[in-house]
């Protein structure tokens, strides 16, 4: 008996609903909603709300959504702010005299593969790269600047927006926490000093912009008549993760070559029969400085005891 009542009530309900909104009209509303959603990519609930507010005027709804996106992004970003973001990518962009290395974190590696994420990190890297061109003052052979989350957020992208705004928009669309973790901007002040970068996995053809799980920037001096090994050295740094360059006089090589943390004493990655020192001597290279990011390492290590390069050439924002 209960079953029959249920069936009847369902039928009546459907009947009433059909009177209320005819199938033609409903289909039109749906397709409008579907179109708006496909065009803007905002969540279904928001698209519907926008259409309701503007009496199914798609154009008005769209512009309203775009206006609201920033606010909604901020709201979402604030809501998700506490969540751990360990995944993500490290991106590098460089030319001969400038370099930028940026880490952007998110919660799952699915998001890190999404094109919206790739766009976000590229924007951030380009912003840092531009910053390296315009804002860095000369002092020493290489001017280095370390940027943290807050400083990064205040940089402006090419479209004039702040990175923090872009990030909030991004969080709004993917619904996952994302953090601009850190960045490094470099500028060479001397014609002899060259800057190069490398990320792993590397793109099939060498390019001046790439993104991966690991990344490094390297500043070095090398005369033009020898074969340029900057990229290879940078690959070595990404692969072997040395802690410091090392000094021939003060540092001693480790007993087990596998545990070696000084760059110059390590076996050269691309030909283990040489040490890096020998390779440097052969190609007349002088390594001035390097920096290596491994995605998620900051959070994992919780920052204690992270060994840093000598800070005397570092310039701060103030």
């Amino acid at each position: 008996m209960k079953l029959t009542v249920q069936t009847y009530s369902k039928m009546i309900f459907q009947l009433v609903r059909r009177f209320h909104a005819g199938p033609v009209c409903r289909a039109a509303e749906s397709s409008l909603l579907a179109k708006l959603r496909k065009k803007t990519g905002y969540t279904i609930a928001n698209c519907k709300k926008a259409l309701e507010m503007h009496n199914n005027d798609a154009d008005k709804a769209e512009s309203w959504l775009n206006d609201q996106a920033q606010a909604m992004g901020w709201a979402k970003a604030t809501k998700l702010a506490g969540r751990t973001a360990l995944q993500g990518l490290v991106a590098v962009k460089f030319d001969k005299e400038h370099g930028a290395l940026v880490e952007l974190n998110c919660e799952t590696d699915f998001v890190a593969k999404n094109e919206k994420f790739l766009k976000m990190i590229e924007d951030a890297t380009l912003a840092c790269f531009k910053f390296a061109h315009t804002h860095m003052q000369a002092k020493g052979p290489v001017t280095k600047m370390e940027l943290d989350s807050e400083q990064l957020a205040n940089l402006a992208t090419q479209s004039g927006k702040k990175l923090s705004e872009e990030l909030a928009l991004f969080i709004g669309t993917v619904g996952e926490n994302a953090v601009l973790r850190r960045a490094e901007c470099w500028k060479a002040n001397n014609k002899d000093v060259k800057i190069t970068g490398y990320t792993h996995p590397a793109p099939a053809t060498p390019a001046d912009y790439s993104a991966g799980k690991y990344g490094a920037l390297l500043a070095y001096k090398q005369p033009n008549d020898t074969e340029d090994v900057g990229r290879q050295l940078c690959q070595h740094i990404v692969g072997m993760g040395p802690r410091k360059i090392g000094n021939k006089e003060t540092d001693k090589p480790a007993k087990d070559t596998d545990d070696e943390t000084c760059l110059i004493f390590q076996e050269y990655l691309l030909d283990p029969s040489y040490t890096v020192e020998e390779v440097l001597a052969k190609h007349k290279v002088e390594v001035i400085d390097y920096i290596r990011f491994s995605c998620g390492e900051v959070i994992e290590a919780n920052m204690p005891g992270v060994e840093k390069q000598p800070l005397d050439t570092v310039q701060t924002l103030q």
């Binding site: 409903r26 509303e29 749906s30 909603l33 579907a34 959603r37 990519g41 969540t43 279904i44 609930a45 519907k48 995944q87 919660e107 799952t108 590696d109 699915f110 998001v111 593969k113 999404n114 094109e115 919206k116 669309t173 993917v174 619904g175 996952e176 792993h200 996995p201 590397a202 099939a204 799980k213 690991y214 690959q235 692969g239 072997m240 596998d258 990655l269 691309l270």
Partner: protein, 456 residues
């Protein structure tokens, strides 16, 4: 009338609950056990369809906030009522212990439950790399996936990546669970469904037939019995039972048996021992003994299971096989006994591989092409050279990807066969075969001098 109802409900709950609660798995297993033994005793061939509860591996994928964990918790809660699972709360799943499986840290929650038809192992992996690692290490091969999407958000940008993963790990069956259906109206549900079907079709799934179930995992977890509550979860479970076909033992392929051991029976000949992996092995059938560069033709003179001679044996049976005209010297552990001309030997394979991180006991240094080490698979091991895809410069510990394997001698490996690579007695990599390629020459037994041809 109400009296009758009360009686009926009493009767139903009595017959349903009591026997099941007490005799859930152990008795089930026992039953299967008895059945197997008895069928073995008479003849294995007569009853190929065992009355055992079929097993199925299923996983949940979806955006972090769309309710994967809640859904898993709700499933266990609903089944726990029928005594078919143990209730696992949201917190317990969320705090999934990092599981140590074969030396690899797999960040995944594994939960088991049964429906009336099948037993399910449910995996909930947080990330892409975790899924791949899970698959490569063989911790669980997923047969089907439940894609969870929240009705109020609809598919997210990264849903594409979720489906890409499903394709990558070879999941054939996808069921969509539209969660939080109580928060929106029917029109929006329809739209989510349309969008999902489009997306599924984009990734090569049959978008029109993929089952979609609307419900609310949260409601079900709270014991709500309305349309989107518990009934939606039951609907999902019955869809899982129906839509994902049972995994049957492969009895139709030509037989294949890895050799575990071999001995000589005086006056009769050489007997090889092993477990049949697939197919049916018949007495007097032609067979090949393959491996370590050898290909020996022979005939199966006799097949024995537990010292009883049988006319044929099935996949899954542990058998001793008497081979005609075989010398014990030519048999080595790790060789394969296969139906004549069904398999071929080669030393070149393509594989998916995962390099263990330093914390998992793996290498510290990256891996380059021409990396040569000892490879272990099944009951044998052999020297192998690993070459990366030409576009790839190196692989770091913790990376996974496709590589080319070149073995020192010809062996038979089937697609999906797992292997590990060890360096100085430490496991540094694990992988599965994805493609067999035609054999290449190893000059003078030196792997370092092999020249690879990349045709694609």
């Amino acid at each position: 009338m109400s009296g009758r109802l009360v009686l009926q409900s009493l009767y139903c709950s009595f017959t349903r609950k009591v026997p099941l609660k007490h005799s859930f798995l152990p008795s089930n297993r026992l039953y299967v056990g008895i059945f197997r033994v008895s069928s073995n005793e008479f003849c294995t061939a007569t009853e190929p369809q065992f009355v055992e509860k079929k097993h199925c591996n299923i996983g949940t994928i979806g955006h972090v906030d769309h309710g994967k964990t809640t859904l898993t918790a709700a499933i266990t809660k609903i089944l726990a009522k029928d005594g078919l699972a143990q209730y696992v709360s949201y917190d317990e799943i969320d705090r999934a212990p990092e599981e140590k499986a074969r030396g690899i840290t797999i960040n995944a929650a594994h939960i088991g439950y049964s429906t009336k038809l099948r037993h399910y192992a449910h995996t909930d992996c947080p990330g892409h790399a975790d899924f791949i690692r899970n698959m490569i290490s063989g911790a669980s091969q997923m047969d089907a996936a439940v894609l969870v999407v929240a009705a109020n958000d609809g598919p997210m940008p990264q849903t594409r990546e979720h489906l890409l993963l499903a394709k990558q790990v070879g999941i054939q069956y996808i069921i969509v669970f539209i969660n939080k259906a109580d928060l929106v109206d029917g029109e929006l549900l329809e739209l989510v469904e349309i969008e999902m079907r489009e997306l599924l079709s984009d990734f090569g799934y049959d978008g029109n037939t993929v089952p979609m179930i609307c419900g609310s995992a949260m409601k079900a977890l709270n014991g709500d019995e309305s349309e989107f509550g518990a009934p939606s979860i039951r609907k999902l479970l019955s869809t899982m039972d129906e839509y994902v076909p049972p995994i049957v033992r492969d009895l139709s392929s030509p037989f294949l048996m890895p050799i575990d051991n071999a001995f000589t029976v005086p006056g009769r000949g050489t007997v090889v021992v092993g477990t049949i992996k697939r197919g049916i092995m018949k007495k007097n059938a032609e067979a090949d003994l393959l491996g370590f560069g050898q290909n020996i033709k022979t005939t199966i003179s006799d097949v024995q299971i537990f010292k009883n001679s049988v006319p044929e044996a099935l996949a899954g049976d542990n058998v001793g096989v008497l081979l005609r005209g075989m010398k014990i010297k030519s048999v080595q552990t790790g060789m394969l006994l296969t139906a004549a001309k069904s398999c071929f030997l080669t030393n070149h394979y393509k594989a998916k591989i995962y390099f263990l991180t330093r914390n998992e006991g793996g290498r510290r240094k990256p891996i380059f092409s021409k990396y040569s080490q000892q490879m272990f698979s099944g009951t044998w091991n052999i020297a192998v050279r690993i070459d990366l895809e030409p576009t790839q410069q190196m692989m770091m510990p913790g990376d996974h990807g496709e590589v080319y394997l070149t073995l020192l001698e010809d062996m038979v490996m089937t697609v999906g066969q797992p292997f590990t690579v060890r360096e100085n007695n430490v496991t540094v990599a694990t992988g599965i075969i994805t493609e067999t390629r035609s054999s290449i020459n190893v000059p003078k037994g030196k792997l370092g001098k092999v020249v690879l041809k990349f045709d694609d």
